[in-house]
């Protein structure tokens, strides 16, 4: 989608409809989303199998019974609903890579940690902020109804289901623009090459910083 000849293009997000899985916890930290033992890989791919690992798997690697994402009725879910302060803690982008690789396109919560929200944007993964009562309502519907589906409409900034729920959500206009168009913002920043060069002319790297050993 970008016009910058870039290989880091992000998958555009316009409207997405999918099955909803409820994760009824608050303060879900990135250590839970992807535990540290899986951060040693040097690729961006293959993290989905480790998503929520310590909750999903026992110490011997066998599946724990009863973790919500493993219930057959939530199979193939692409929208996660969870409690406030989702994605807090470590800056590891691996958390977003694990969620997207597992098949999620968006997470709905009443609040998100800043770094997690930033990382999400860069990967075409949407963080949808609704009120606590709206999140509670979605959590309830996803729990009570079979194959509960939501539509997240980034053009209308609206979340809706087939049972009368609809809610607007806020998003930074520039973030929305990037997501809708799958823009790589390195390319956007480099459009300001002249300004960066001018800034650097006025602010050279300190002379006392030694030249790197190439």
């Amino acid at each position: 989608m970008t016009s910058f000849g870039d290989d880091n293009d992000v998958k555009p997000f316009r409207t997405h409809r999918g099955r909803v899985a409820p994760l009824n916890r608050i303060n879900v930290d990135t250590d839970q989303i992807i535990p540290k033992q899986f951060l040693k890989r040097i690729e961006r791919t293959g993290f989905g199998q480790f998503l929520f690992y310590d909750w999903r798997f026992a110490a011997d690697g066998k599946k724990n019974a009863g973790f919500i994402l493993d219930e057959p009725r939530y199979a193939g879910a692409s929208i996660l609903v969870s409690g406030k302060n989702f994605g807090c803690g470590s800056s590891r982008e691996h958390a977003v890579w694990a969620l997207t690789d597992f098949g999620f396109r968006a997470v709905i919560s009443s609040s998100f940690a800043d770094i997690f929200a930033n990382n999400s944007t860069k990967n075409g993964f949407l963080t949808v902020r609704l009120s606590e009562s709206e999140v509670a309502e979605l959590m309830k519907r996803a729990d009570e109804m079979n194959d509960y589906q939501l539509t997240i409409d980034l053009e209308q900034l609206e979340v809706r289901d087939d049972h009368g729920f609809s809610a607007k959500f806020p998003i930074d206009e520039f973030v929305r623009h990037c997501l809708l168009n799958g823009l790589d913002d390195i390319g956007l920043t480099l459009q300001h090459e002249a300004e960066i060069t001018a800034y650097e002319a006025l602010h050279p790297a300190p002379a006392s910083v030694e030249a790197p050993r190439a």
Partner: protein, 469 residues
């Protein structure tokens, strides 16, 4: 007269490269710190797009997260960790980035060596692919953690597109009492405002209690800002700051030094500048704290108890129940009755020389409880050498603590230093999340003195009653 500005606003304004309409402002980054875990995919991105590191002279790398703390030279048995370290070495070589490698005398935790080498200076913008980058705000810089995509962005452009955060002032009146440290101040703040209390904000810590902190203490306080959700934490630079920076390897020298200090003196928040939010605290209300749950906001005075559900808001009940179940604790249990198996003194929060001195002072003349395994992991090779010159390692070793090589170690357990399932640890680190220090491990966050005292007593004990030898 120009409108009064905060410390944050002065740094932000000075680093604006462009403000394209309808887009996030583009901010220049003075210093980019890089480590092995969050950078390989970023360097890959550069390669794929055919880009270079724009400012190698503003980019500094080290290895800290996954390296063993066994004596250097011991082979790394974790092959995936070894591959990640090798990837950083190869990337630094290919892109011309200075690397303080495993065998370097300057190696250490990225947030320890930045200040120690004088790379961290007031007024700078500093980023790193690590949430505890907030540490560097102690020098009156704007420092924050970023993800790998943004690491790539900074490598390629030396800039970041950032929405302007809001500002919060946390004003701590009065003085901290004996035995109450910067760590307790940090835990006290998070306990009060919550782990999302500062989400979307940059905190400026102010007040006599903050001014009275050493640079080590200020780093501990700013380090934990992220645990309150803050984008960054910062403290206005003053004589304490200048005295610390002066003479450091990469600090300005000679005539440059005077010019730098003159600029830095203009950075503190102007009289009358407005913050989006102000929180006031009384230092006299603070005491040594111990976390009892699975996030840093779940905290109690050492003289207190694990909470009863009845004492909490109903919306907190479920999270508290889950936390107590994970931690294996009964509601109402006295904190001082909680026995421990392990002690970890280290991490970017509390592994600096002052932290080690404080812990050694407690340990001196005592021995670690027979049921406890305790380790001290200095934040850097320089700190390790300094501690050894002072004989601190002798005190620790004589008392039965392990004395190890520098790295992140058991703060996040990416290397072999981990808790076993069910083990309970008094830790000077920053996160007590489930499994953080090892699957099934139970972490209680405390100050270095409290950790040392717990190692000896075998349970938490009020450092204010300690009989120093």
């Amino acid at each position: 007269m120009p409108a009064p500005r905060t410390l944050f606003e002065k740094i932000w304004d000075a680093h604006l490269v462009a403000q394209p309409s309808g887009r996030s402002p583009i901010v220049y980054i003075d210093l980019h710190l890089v480590h092995e875990v969050t950078s390989p995919q970023a360097f890959d991105g550069l390669r794929t797009a055919g880009r270079k590191v724009r400012q190698p002279a503003r980019t500094v790398a080290t290895v800290d997260h996954n390296i063993p703390t066994e004596p250097r030279g011991t082979p790394i048995t974790d092959l995936i960790a070894a591959a990640q370290i090798a990837a950083l070495q190869a990337n630094c070589k290919e892109f011309g980035v200075q690397l303080f490698d495993m065998d370097s005398p300057e190696q250490g935790i990225v947030h320890v060596i930045g200040p120690e080498l004088g790379l961290t200076q007031p007024g700078m913008t500093i980023v790193c692919g690590d949430s505890h980058t907030s540490t560097h705000g102690a020098f009156g810089s704007l420092a924050f953690g970023i993800g790998t995509s943004e690491v790539e962005h900074v490598l390629a452009t030396q800039c970041l597109a950032q929405q302007k955060p809001k500002t919060m002032k946390i004003d701590v009146r009065g003085r901290l009492a004996e035995g109450v440290t910067a760590k307790d101040l940090a835990l006290g703040i998070i306990g009060q405002i919550g782990t999302d209390g500062a989400t979307g904000y940059v905190i400026e810590y102010a007040g006599d209690a903050v001014r009275g902190l050493s640079m080590e203490g200020r780093m501990t306080l700013c380090n934990m800002s992220i645990e309150a959700g803050a984008r960054a934490g910062m403290i206005a630079p003053d004589e304490t700051t200048f005295a610390y920076v002066k003479g450091k390897r990469f600090a300005p020298r000679d005539g440059e030094w005077e010019k730098a200090v003159e600029y830095w003196r203009g950075l503190p928040t102007d009289e009358g500048a407005r913050f989006d939010k102000v929180v006031e605290m009384d230092a006299a209300q603070l005491c040594p704290f111990v976390t009892w749950g699975t996030n840093p906001g779940m905290v109690a005075p050492v003289t207190g108890r694990v909470p009863d559900l009845g004492s909490l808001k109903e919306s907190d009940h479920r999270a508290t129940e889950l936390a107590l179940q994970y931690m294996g604790l009964e509601p109402g249990k006295r904190i001082e009755d909680i026995g421990i198996d392990r002690v970890f003194i280290g991490s970017c929060t509390n592994s600096r020389i002052e932290d080690l001195r404080a812990a050694a002072q407690v340990a001196k003349g005592y021995h670690v409880s027979a049921k406890v395994r305790a380790m001290v992991v200095p934040g850097s090779q320089a700190i390790k050498r300094a501690a050894e010159r002072e004989g601190l390692h002798r005190i620790f070793l004589d008392a039965g603590f392990e004395w190890r090589e520098s790295g992140c170690s058991m703060c996040l357990g990416m290397n072999p230093d981990i808790l076993q399932p069910g083990e309970r640890c008094a830790s000077t680190s920053n996160r007590n999340f489930e499994g953080r220090q090892g699957r099934g491990g139970r972490t209680h966050l405390v100050s270095p003195m409290m950790a040392a005292a717990a190692a000896i007593a075998g349970h938490f004990t009020d450092i204010r009653n300690w009989k120093f030898q």
